[in-house]
Amino acid sequence: MARRGRTGPIRVLIAKPGLDGHDRGAKVVARALRDAGMEVIYAGLRQTPEEVVRAALEEDVDLIGLSILSGAHMALFPKILVLLKAEKAGNIPVFAGGIIPDEDARRLKKAGIKAIFGPGTTLQEIVTTAQRLARGAA
């Protein structure tokens, strides 16, 4: 569903919600997705959930990736999912990474985050998951 019969490269938004200055992981992931042939919109630091959703809609992305190492994921991720649904864009898959304890990860997946990756995940695994999610095979 996500690709809606589209032919071009996969478009992904990589965003860092909240007041979190750790951007290495987000940049590493963005470059890995680029090297896999995707068009990655890197929205930068300190995005509000509203800004993340707005960017995803304007950029018409197939996938949203959230990176967070500050510990604020339980507040921010569900907010983003709710806003997406409110915009009738709940079909855009969301995946995430950073410092997210297992217990939180379980709850966030229940809430609708498709996949969550912690430190040490191989970039190949992230790329493969991104391709699968963007193609709508969630």
């Binding site: 809606r4 071009g8 680029r34 090297d35 990655v40 890197y42 960017a55 304007e58 950029e59």
Partner: protein, 321 residues
């Protein structure tokens, strides 16, 4: 406005301010999806009256930062703004990291701004093949001003002239030698010069150097490009920059050059489209059509040269009788 009843539903939605319809149509245009040809065609009559401002200049001079403050300024005056910002595609993977959005500061709930990032997809010249058509969609969507940010390449991005009504060339202090090498291209392109990062030392000197260069280059059709120092960090000069852009837009109207330039751009666009179309067709026929294959054989055997072969092919197959 009731508008034409012929508008297809998606085109109608775009005109009525549906931003998702706009976003999806842009993707389809980028991907060359034939299903949106009718939408694009139906919107064309609604385009051509909006200022399209090109922002070009070397890597990292502050194009996106200036865009952000210009947007703030225009929003404060109640003007709506559509943006397409181009970044390079990787020649290796075809992928891209599009980072122009990082500098964007605006209220997330503001429908008066639409910002779209775009990969160049192998196109040289600083914009993508579909940038012109996407700028047109933004025009049709009714934004008061459309901005196009080019790829920040080493050279000057000439292709922007085929899209923008006013082109702003952005430089920074201490470009020194670089300005010398850019020189020829600069005058071809710039309607307005901007010396950004004027908060850094050397800005006065850069503006002075530039003004000497501008004085050397003859004013083009009665317009001498102004030089505006700006800083996005202070910020300063932003109002002056918009005033300079606006002055050029008014100059286009008062002299009748707007129509003249638009005519030249459209003429170039049609020629380019025909060239693309014919180029593809000829390349295809040279591999399939027996007669054309024999022509190619002679060129390969060095009994006929490529220029003569092309001329012969054009005369026998394409020139009007």
């Amino acid at each position: 406005m009731t508008g034409s009843p012929r508008l297809p539903p998606v085109a109608r939605a775009i005109v009525d301010g549906d931003r998702r319809a706009l976003a999806r149509t842009i993707s389809a245009v980028e991907n060359g999806d034939p299903r949106v040809a009718g939408i694009v065609r139906s919107l064309y009559p609604r385009t051509g009256r909006t200022p399209v401002i090109g922002l070009t200049g070397p890597l990292g001079v502050g194009k996106s930062s200036l865009l952000s403050v210009l947007i703030g300024q225009l929003r404060a005056r109640g003007k709506t703004v559509g943006v397409v910002a181009v970044d390079p595609s990787s020649p290796y993977s075809g992928g891209s990291v599009l980072g122009d959005r990082i500098r964007l500061e605006r209220k997330a709930n503001d429908d008066g701004v639409f910002f779209r990032s775009m990969a160049s997809r192998g196109e040289a010249g600083g914009i993508a093949a579909s940038t012109r058509e996407v700028a047109r969609l933004l025009d049709a969507a009714g934004f008061d001003v459309v901005f196009v940010e080019t790829v920040g390449s080493g050279q000057v991005d000439v292709a922007i002239r085929g899209v923008a009504t006013t082109s702003v060339v952005i430089l920074v202090p201490h470009l020194g030698d670089e300005v010398q090498t850019l020189k020829a291209g600069l005058f071809e392109i710039a309607d307005v010069f901007c010396v950004n990062k004027a908060d850094l030392p050397g800005a006065d000197l850069a503006a002075k150097d530039l003004s000497e260069l501008v004085a050397l280059g003859a004013a083009r059709d009665g317009w001498a490009p102004p030089i505006v120092p700006t800083s996005t960090t202070t910020p300063s000069g932003i109002e002056e920059l918009w005033t300079a852009i606006d002055a050029h837009e008014q100059f286009l109207d008062s002299t009748g050059q707007r129509t003249q330039h638009e005519r030249a751009r459209l003429s170039a666009e049609i020629a380019e489209r025909v060239k693309d179309r014919m180029g593809r067709e000829v390349a295809e026929r040279l591999t399939r059509d027996p007669e054309l294959r024999r022509l190619l054989d002679r060129v390969v055997a060095r009994t006929l040269d490529p220029a003569t072969a092309a001329e012969e092919l054009f005369r026998t197959h394409y020139a009007p009788k």
